[in-house]
Symmetry: C2
DNA sequence: AATCTTAATGGAAATGGTTTTCATTACCAG
DNA sequence: CTGGTAATGAAAACCATTTCCATTAAGATT
């Protein structure tokens, strides 16, 4: 579970792409691993910075870019105006979920319900679209927008 | 078709929400109506500005906010770093489509294939989620990411 | 271990899309 | 016509993210 540091499950993928393993990157991935989710770059910076004060915000941004490129991290836009990041897959693989976003208060609810049906339909759709448009699909995004119980009362 | 100005199909919805009808708003909505799509705020500004030079960029942003709030316009993030806008519904109603986004060159392909199945599944999902999370869903976003034929060759 | 190549880094400055400010204009209800 | 107030434009502010550049440190080679 919490034994992030001992594993290095991502080292292979990292090295295989010519990236070096650094303390900063280790710390950033650890922060993502340990945290709940929907972290902004600055959230991550502050977590990392408290333990490794010599890791700068610029490195956080650069590392997140790398992680997104490698597919280890997903980048989201939830309507507040900063990017949000969450781990795509851990040592035990991914726990797939999508998001409900409240346009009133920007609260985000993760849900895993209906995911199987969604993903099955998406796979079919992806197959059809790939063929028709000669497009190699690597990822998808589904989000629902609306008002949470608090905000719809007003 | 092109007789945008004569209709004012949106005036009702506008006035009903306490908004005034102004030349700038008319021009901005007309630009969205006439254009293809995926316009940025500045795209719209330039189109509008050529015909009505006294409409400023600020007004474009403010009007787009209003239109998005009213549900007349959708706002998208396609990964280049500016918001993209397109008309949600015209006088004849909406022509629903989703997007394929190339992460290589940021090209966006609209597709309407599979939309029916998608929308049906989404409706079911929305119903289930609304109930379970007491969340009033008003909108959804589906996007596929990948590489277009040009970019996957490299 | 020592050396070397070059990716990675941090701090400061720049960037640029979007928002805010504020004095002025112009919808439109009465 | 006229008053109240929403809407506006221009300029300045905002602020998340990127870029610059001199310095550091992975990690392959010796």
């Amino acid at each position: 579970m919490g034994n992030f540091g001992q594993h290095g499950w991502w080292h292979g993928k990292f090295r295989g792409c010519g990236y070096r393993i650094t303390l900063g990157r280790e710390a950033i991935l650890e922060a993502l691993f340990k945290s709940d989710k929907h972290l902004s770059a600055e959230d991550i910076y502050m977590k990392v910075h408290s333990k490794y004060p010599n890791v700068g915000l610029t490195t956080v941004y650069r590392t997140l870019d790398v992680l997104v490129d490698l597919g280890l991290v997903f980048k989201f836009d939830f309507g507040d105006k900063r990017a949000r990041y969450e781990l795509a897959e851990g040592p035990k693989g991914a726990h797939h979920h999508h998001h409900l976003i409240c346009t009133g208060c920007n609260r985000v609810i993760d849900y895993t319900d209906f995911i199987d049906e969604e993903v099955e339909l998406l796979n079919q759709t992806e197959k059809g679209l790939s063929k028709k448009y000669d497009f190699k699909i690597t990822n998808h995004l589904i989000q629902f927008y609306g008002l949470c119980s608090n905000c719809s009362e007003k």
